[in-house]
């Protein structure tokens, strides 16, 4: 069975109508071509319908269309399905998705980190350059510098080491997301570092290189002060980028538009774009996978609602009865609609029963299948001449026991409309995995009985997922009360609402442990 993936696109698309200044156009990617093609295909219908004209009431009329050709075109709507030569909308979306997948990795994704890397290397090398250059250029003229300098060398070396390690630990990570606009704090810090180092170089050039300064100890102290300053900037970076947003300040409600799945998250002070990345991180592991087949009411219920009445007047003058007719139609339609909830209820009950029946068959089949194999331990005799047993590796074992359960599995997946997510191959792989790790049938079935989080169904893909951030405010503004933004994909979107967490007034009440006393409830009766 071909599996159809929901999310297999590449990078974030740009969204900003205002221009952002200067450095790093990495933030300013905008891929018009891709977004247009996706929009076009997303607006089209995914399902193909053939809508018969009229309703059962008028079937007799409509099939005699040959007799009234002039009216026939107005009242009928026929949408043809796929023919041999035409391409349906489904194919279009699939083709566009495949196109996105096959395009090469965008270099802009790595521009920012590379820039940061260069800058930090430059900053780290600078103190060493400060120390080395005088030695190289005018070694003979330098004043000798004894113990204090050696102490400074040691401290310098250790500080540089600390800087190096902490930079590596904190900042040298593969980027997890590309944001539509500048990441303000990061840009600020990079500018700060650059200005700092540049000004140090300026002073160095003017005060040390030009006049060929002889006080070497002063130069070493100068380099040490630069390293101190860099350490403090790194502390600032740590606070701004990593620590500030840890304390929760807002509560985000995330709702998926197609099926109403919702979650609440606590988040700290972030800008909208960073909050969006944060939410999406959690979306992939918290939200159950989006299944488009489960979204709508079954057609059998809806189609009855969609048909309306057509009122025919038998007498000649139709002008007077027009309002009466429309009112009658509305009233009749309102009364007709009353029955559909009943049908919906019975359909749901029936569906539940069907699912449970299939599930019980599946569980029994899997349990029986698992009893057919057992693990062979090293010390057991592999085979005897009378009862030769074939020793299999996990893949073969999985294939051997898959056959009896395949049918039950397929029927179950079909009933719960999960079959696009699981191909036969993936089921076999999962079975092999479970056998290898000594899992019980229940553990094997856990994957299929409940719809899992989206991340479980993702293909390994270096391109990433494409989301569009839709917001009325510029996306670098900080979160505040009442803000609403949404994250859009071709199939659905997530609407995020921000509410502040309430201010807590915590009071205190001291209870003496000896103050817990009780009395019996009395109801005595005395005879007098």
């Amino acid at each position: 069975m071909p599996s159809r993936d929901m999310d297999n696109e590449s990078q974030y698309s740009g969204y900003s109508y205002k221009s952002s200044h200067s450095r790093g156009s990495r933030k300013h990617k905008r891929d018009k071509h891709r977004s247009k093609s996706r929009d076009g295909s997303s607006r089209g219908d995914k399902s193909v319908t053939i809508q018969a004209p009229g309703e059962p009431l008028l079937d007799a009329e409509s099939t005699r269309g040959d007799d009234r050709d002039d009216n026939w075109g107005e009242t009928t709507t026929v949408v043809t399905g796929t023919s041999v030569d035409s391409v349906s909308n489904e194919d279009l979306t699939r083709v566009s998705k495949d196109l996105d997948e096959s395009t090469p990795l965008e270099c802009k994704r790595f521009l920012g980190p590379v820039l940061g890397c260069c800058l930090s290397l430059f900053a780290l090398v600078t103190p060493l350059a400060f120390l080395v250059l005088p030695q190289v250029l005018w070694r003979d003229a330098l004043d000798p510098c004894g113990t204090p300098c050696e102490g400074l060398y040691v401290s310098l070396a250790f500080k540089l080491l600390v800087l190096l390690i902490s930079s590596w630990a904190l900042f040298f990570r593969p980027p997890r997301a590309t944001l539509p606009r500048f990441f303000v704090f990061r840009c600020l810090l990079m500018v700060l570092v650059f200005l700092f180092v540049a000004s140090y170089w300026l002073f160095y050039g003017v005060r040390v290189l030009e006049p060929r300064e002889r006080d070497y100890r002063g130069i070493v102290e100068y380099a040490a002060s630069l390293v101190d300053a860099l350490l403090f900037i790194q502390y600032l970076a740590l606070v701004l980028l990593e620590v500030r947003h840890l304390q929760p300040a807002f509560c985000l409600k995330v709702v998926r538009t197609t099926d109403g799945a919702s979650r609440f998250y606590n988040i700290g002070h972030l800008s909208i774009q960073r909050a969006a990345v944060w939410v999406l991180d959690r979306y992939y592991s918290d939200f159950t996978v989006y299944n488009p087949a489960l979204v709508n009411l079954p057609k059998s219920i809806l189609s009855k609602k969609m048909t309306g009445f057509k009122v025919y007047s038998l007498d000649e003058n139709t002008t007077n009865n027009s309002t009466g007719q429309s009112r009658a139609m509305i009233a009749a339609a309102a009364r007709r609609r009353d029955n559909s909830h009943n049908e919906f209820y019975y359909e749901e009950a029936d569906y539940d029963r069907r699912v449970r029946k299939r599930k019980s068959r599946l569980v029994v089949a899997v349990e029986e299948a698992f009893t057919h194999i057992k693990r062979l331990h090293e010390d057991e005799v592999a085979s005897s001449p009378k009862h030769p047993r074939e020793v299999m590796d996990p893949r073969e074992a999985a294939q051997a026991i898959f056959a009896p359960m395949a049918r039950a599995m397929q029927k179950y997946l079909r009933t719960t409309k999960q079959q696009p997510f699981h191909s036969m191959d993936s089921i076999l792989t999962h079975l092999q995995f479970c056998i290898t790790h000594n899992m019980t049938p229940k553990a094997f079935l856990e994957r299929y009985l409940t719809p899992g989080p989206t991340v479980q169904y993702q293909r390994e893909n270096g391109r990433g997922r494409q989301w569009t951030l839709v917001s009325e405010e510029p996306v670098t503004t900080a979160l505040r009360q009442g803000l609403v933004f949404s994250l859009r994909r071709p199939d659905f979107s997530l609407v995020v609402t921000v509410t502040p967490l309430p201010f807590l007034r915590l009071g205190e009440e001291y209870i003496d442990p000896k103050s817990h006393k009780f009395v019996m409830r009395l109801q005595s009766e005395t005879s007098v």
Partner: protein, 130 residues
């Protein structure tokens, strides 16, 4: 003698009005004790929620819970469920259970004159008015 009534429930600060009946009970000597032939329940130190006879479950008055057959109480016309308002002029609406017992079982009194109230009295008065 019946007095005009409103209701028997207790509103703090307001005087309680009730239709009452005077009952005079002659104590019966049984060995060393003088008995009246009924049991009381209630009191301000008791739990009013468990009183089966009171209408208002926060009423902490003294109620007659049992009347022994042929005893002095029954003879005098006391009925089960009566609320005792006064005993020999002493108020019984705001007393503890033990105080009530003591007021009823004074050794030097042979006769106790009670003012009791019950729901049927009020209805009887209303009927007679109409």
């Amino acid at each position: 003698m019946f007095s005009r009534s409103d209701d028997v429930s207790f509103i703090p600060g307001q005087p309680v009005t009730a239709v009452v009946q005077r009952i005079e009970i002659q104590k019966l000597r049984q060995g060393d004790h003088l008995i009246l032939g009924f049991s009381i329940g209630g009191g301000i130190d008791q739990d009013p929620g468990q009183n089966p006879f009171s209408e208002d479950k926060s009423d902490k008055g003294i109620y007659v819970t049992r009347v022994s057959q042929g005893g002095p109480g029954e003879v005098a016309g006391l009925m089960m469920g009566d609320k005792i308002m006064q005993v020999n002029g002493w108020d019984m609406t705001m007393v503890t259970h033990d105080q009530a017992r003591k007021r009823l079982t004074k050794k030097n009194e042979e006769v106790v004159r009670l003012l009791v109230t019950r729901k049927s009295l009020e209805e009887a008065v209303r009927h007679s008015m109409m």
